[in-house]
Point group: C2
Chain length 319, copies 2
Amino acid sequence: MRIVVLAGGIGGARFLRGLKSAVPDADITVIGNTGDDIHLFGLKVCPDLDTVMYTLGGGINEDQGWGRVDESFTVKEELAAYGVGPTWFGLGDRDFATHIVRTQMLGAGYPLSAVTEALCDRWQPGVRLLPMTDDRVETHVAITDAGTGERRVIHFQEYWVRLRASVDAEAVVPVGAEQAKPAPGVLEAIAAADVILLPPSNPVVSVGTILAVPGIREAVAAAQAPVVGLSPIVGGAPVRGMADKVLAAVGVESTASAVALHYGTGLLDGWLVDTADADAVAAVEAAGITCRAVPLMMTDLAATADMARAALDLAEASR
Amino acid sequence: MRIVVLAGGIGGARFLRGLKSAVPDADITVIGNTGDDIHLFGLKVCPDLDTVMYTLGGGINEDQGWGRVDESFTVKEELAAYGVGPTWFGLGDRDFATHIVRTQMLGAGYPLSAVTEALCDRWQPGVRLLPMTDDRVETHVAITDAGTGERRVIHFQEYWVRLRASVDAEAVVPVGAEQAKPAPGVLEAIAAADVILLPPSNPVVSVGTILAVPGIREAVAAAQAPVVGLSPIVGGAPVRGMADKVLAAVGVESTASAVALHYGTGLLDGWLVDTADADAVAAVEAAGITCRAVPLMMTDLAATADMARAALDLAEASR
């Protein structure tokens, strides 16, 4: 079975671990979000790709969900001693090595997709991990500065990590997406898929950014394979993260049904909501999307594998 | 008193510490060798500048004479886990931060001299540290490969660190030196100096490379100030390092007098040899260079300060 998953960071990575556990023999291609990539200290950092790679490769810090386990922060402390920031982005020493290798390869002319493949040679994530694009896309967020009252446009990571989404996102723009091309293999994998899954990743800044690369949304909509998503909203709030803030920016309520309708019938064949949102099933089905309510909390590997099985079952049912 | 010192790495740095101790109020400009600079992992590494900066700034690993004290090697281990080398160059985590800051600033368009000044803002070495040039110069060494018998040209660091000078250096070439220009401030400092000192650094790949930048040798030779050198050869062998190997490449014997004559009367006004080489004094003086024999082993700070005082005394005597 060929499965394509459009993944962001932590939510996508944990779902993928459950999926691999549910169907160990499946041929899984992950199309990873690169809109939250950022240049820090002259190095190219790809947080979502790395979170998938580290999680599936056994190197993730399980407690925080991102970054490396057994991490130290000597380089960061030294950079701070030079007065070089930002200090709000937590790059550890082990993580730095990944960014050094990536930056060196990019500087030598390799595209990000080739670099990602080379990094995965070490991590053996058990999936084919493709960046959504080899081109530079950076999600920016428009805010009103709480201090000065001025409107400012900042990098998504500054909004998410430094400000912790503490002010409203007035607009979310994947800068560069319009000119970006899907990375080699992305459209081919979508066309050849038996199932396409949207894990409970952020619908705006993760899955939404991937779909913003011209050609990808169209390919998913046109695919032979059923497309099934899992709601990242449970009981009216994001399971983790601050997805409500960026959903508001695109005028979408933070409910399981509103996110389904945001993806739309042109894209989705099936949608899973949590049992807490069972009353949303009727509204989603009324819109023409097959919907089921199942437990959607990724509390452990077994629960996550059950979610993956439910998604595959729903795909089968909506074929 | 304005003192200009042409310095390589360990020997130059330790001598400078003694000089600062001997004349704490002197205005010292250090013209540092950049011929052993190397790009590693996409980062610009300047071993000699850093050794001077760390030594005078209190961050040096005293035992090995280079690199940072309390160093860890997490980044290097991770790079090795990615299969990315070289593994023979010992970059520690603290040291990596220096190279990351430098590379980021160079990438942003700052010349190496401005970058070095910025790095020294942290270290406060108590001297003005100038790279010999802002242009790229890399010392290469021609060897005959012990295995294949083929002639190869390798980077100086590969010769020095990986091969530990275990094969003969057939030629030593500061690639790029002919096109290089002295960094801003270098010629001005030489012209304004009251004394110019050549510490017991490597006469070929350290001081020799600095002098190979067009304009620097001429400026030193033309300077009003007396020029005094300290022999890096004691009792027919280098005090440390493998200077004999690269002296042989330029046809110079590893003796205290031969090195003085290699620098030449056009450059040197005075020359200090070790008391073990007292019999060399006559030969050096016969060539027209004032010469004295004093203890030249930098065993501790007091001994090194005595060497610096002896050099300044000799400068005064040869004025």
